[in-house]
């Protein structure tokens, strides 16, 4: 199938400042693409470029197989939901939703019919005569989505649509957007700085930093095989443990040595051979370190570690230890017997390990 959105070699400069550098992304119809990164990484600018609200410096943008690089926003067959919702304050909800159709000269009967459909779908029928100022945050969010839905576009664009909502409502709306995506089977591009939103919604994630694409992949790929230290650290909460270590070849496997303050170095054996330099950074997610006896498998290695802190979080208990000069967090089961200041035998699942080069941060395995 032809990609619904195809961005090639996109550059965007403001004067001499490069905001976006050599962006290449393509998505298939029905994909949910999430652009994620810290603030100032250029993700919103990229979305505005896709919408045609910002001109690009070089490169091309195809939507639905047509080159849209020079086309004005209204002719790109897109709909956009903004962070501040951007509802027209003096118009009623109904007028807000139908404004685009009115501008394009759609006849009144079609307008009314589409308005009813969308209002029903989003359950905002009883709000149609109110002004945006009389709505709550969640209701405004729905109206903004209604304005996008009524357009029935090739591509939906969302610019941090949930960031103005409180935590509980945000989770609700997140589920609703996901449901909407599944029901409509629509193609969506979604900008967020929240990595949990990215993981839960996306079929494809683009991680951006400083205007450069760090990694493109499915949520599982991004989570399990981060391309570099930045992605490893940015995605996942609590963050991946990144521990400086020394690697040496050991027969068919690799021996990993991690220094410890005031104790013998921790030595682990990875049964897989890797072509590693001597100095590496070992990455292991908190859930890949368990209490000994609770994790089995051929790649699991156990070692005694000094526990510094125990943080019960209900479903799990997080314990913090110190390895290679770094804090290391492990996710244990809720009824763990771990006590601060005591040794505990931890199981490291080396089947899930990532290795990174300390100098440029790139993934090694």
């Amino acid at each position: 199938m032809a990609p619904i959105l195809d961005i090639k070699n996109l550059y965007k400069n403001y004067g001499s400042v490069e905001i976006l550098k050599d962006i290449n992304v393509a998505i298939e119809p029905g994909d949910f693409l999430v652009l994620v990164g810290p603030s100032g990484c250029g993700k919103s600018t990229l979305l505005n470029c896709i919408a045609g609200l910002e001109p690009i410096t070089s490169g091309s943008i195809d939507i639905g197989g047509r080159n849209m690089t020079e086309v004005s926003p209204k002719d790109r067959d897109i709909a956009m939901v903004f962070q501040s919702y951007a509802l027209y304050p003096t118009m009623s909800v109904a007028k807000n939703i139908t404004f685009g159709m009115k501008v394009r000269g759609v006849d009144q009967a079609t307008q009314d019919q589409k308005l009813q459909e969308v209002a029903q779908q989003l359950q905002i029928e009883q709000l149609l005569h109110r002004r945006p100022g009389q709505l709550s945050g969640g209701q405004r969010q729905r109206v903004a989505m209604g304005r996008a839905l009524v357009r029935d576009p090739k591509l939906f664009l969302f610019d941090e649509p949930l960031s103005n909502l409180d935590a509980k409502l945000r989770v609700e709306m997140r589920t609703e957007i996901k449901k909407l995506h599944q029901n409509l089977n629509a193609s969506m591009v979604y900008v967020t700085h929240d990595q949990i939103e990215a993981m839960t919604l996306a079929t494809k994630i683009v991680v951006l930093k400083g205007g450069v694409v760090q990694q493109i992949g499915s949520p599982a790929e991004i989570y399990n095989r981060p391309a570099n230290l930045f992605v490893a650290d940015f995605m996942g909460s609590p963050a991946m443990n990144l521990i400086p270590a020394r690697a040496t070849k050991n027969g068919a496997g690799t021996q990993i040595e991690i220094t410890r303050e005031g104790a013998e170095p921790l030595v682990l054996t990875d049964t897989h051979a890797h072509d590693l330099p001597e100095d590496v950074i070992l990455g292991l997610r908190p859930e890949d370190i368990a209490e000994a006896g609770f994790r089995a498998g051929e790649d699991v290695q156990t070692a005694d570690c000094m526990i510094e802190m125990v943080e019960p979080a209900g479903a799990d208990t997080f314990v913090v230890s110190h390895l290679g000069g770094k804090q290391v967090t492990a996710r244990l089961h809720a009824e763990t017997s771990a006590l601060p200041g005591k040794n505990l035998s931890l199981a490291f699942d080396l089947g899930k390990v990532s290795y990174f080069a300390p100098d440029n941060g790139e993934r090694l395995n």
Binding site: S72, I78, F82, V103, R147
Partner: protein, 298 residues
């Protein structure tokens, strides 16, 4: 708990102090109000007296016999130089001068402000600064170049010429008002409307103008007061027959022969000031609301 106890023991004395302070405050405010109302009082009473009574009576006394003769004279009989038609023709000159000048400068200011605040282009800030600078150029500086311009355009000494002058001079202020009002409106509104397919004027007309009532009122009051009360441009760029009311008022007061008709002068001054007063009374509450609209959200 402690508060209630304190109140019962020290309550009465504290209340007396509060009351005394309040009385002092109101007395002082009353004195100030009287002080400011005094000239108006003298003007109104004098305009209702006959010349005979003005000569013999006290300045601050109520009229013994109320007569509207002075008002009639001021409106349709007082002499400005050699003509004796009163203020009436000049009043209408001012009306047909002020209404288009206010309307045009307000519309241009709204469009300018909309462009500068919401359609940022290269050099927008520079242009805005230059327009602001225009607000502070003293009238006297522009008199000669403006006279030359009006001559070249062939509208010297006409009412359209005066409208032109006031529109040019007013654009700086009206742009400032609208720009400051529109700059607080999120830019995403324009983006959303662009995606919806609306163009430059459609967005202005359907989204921004309906939001603008408070600032339109502020601008209209400001411009109307400026243009109606203007004397320098009026006296410089008009000729017999096109003079605005302020110039005519000056001529009436200065061109009496023999006895000075204070009652007519006072009546004429009140007539000249009435329209601006009326505008404040009708739209005053919007004025305050509009002025504070940008600073305090809500």
């Amino acid at each position: 708990m402690t508060d209630i106890a304190l109140n019962t023991t020290h309550g009465p004395s504290r209340n007396w102090g509060k009351l005394a302070l309040r009385w002092l405050l109101f007395t002082l405010l009353g004195i100030f109000a009287l002080f400011y109302l005094m000239p108006l009082f003298v003007m109104v009473t004098t305009s209702l007296k006959s010349l005979e009574e003005i000569r013999t009576g006290s300045l601050v006394a109520f009229p013994r016999e109320v007569t509207f003769e002075a008002w009639r004279t001021a409106w349709s009989g007082a002499c400005t130089g050699i003509q004796c038609e009163g203020l009436r023709p000049y009043f209408w000159n001012s009306v047909i001068l002020a209404i288009p000048a206010v309307a045009i400068s307000t519309i241009l200011g709204a469009i300018n402000g909309y462009v500068i605040a919401q359609w940022k282009f290269k050099g927008a800030n520079l242009i805005f600064s230059l327009m602001l600078f225009g607000c502070f150029i003293p009238f006297q500086v522009v008199l000669l170049p403006m006279a030359r311009m009006l001559g070249i355009m062939g509208i010297a000494g006409t009412i359209p010429g005066l409208i032109f002058v006031h529109v040019i001079y007013g654009i700086g202020f009206t742009t400032l008002f609208f720009r400051n009002y529109y700059v607080s409106i999120p830019q995403e509104l324009v983006k959303a409307a662009k995606v919806d397919g609306a163009g430059f004027f459609r967005i202005f007309w359907s989204i921004f103008l309906p939001l603008s009532l408070p600032i339109i009122v502020v601008t209209v009051i400001w411009q109307f007061t400026q243009i109606w009360n203007d004397f320098l441009f009026g006296v410089s760029f008009s000729q017999a027959g096109t003079q605005p009311i302020t110039v005519a008022l000056n001529n009436i007061v200065n061109s009496t022969t023999g006895v000075k008709e204070y009652n007519v002068d006072m009546a004429a001054a009140i007539i000249a000031a009435l329209p601006t007063l009326l505008v404040y009374v009708v739209a005053g509450k919007y004025f305050i609301r509009g002025l504070t609209a940008g600073s305090v959200k809500g």
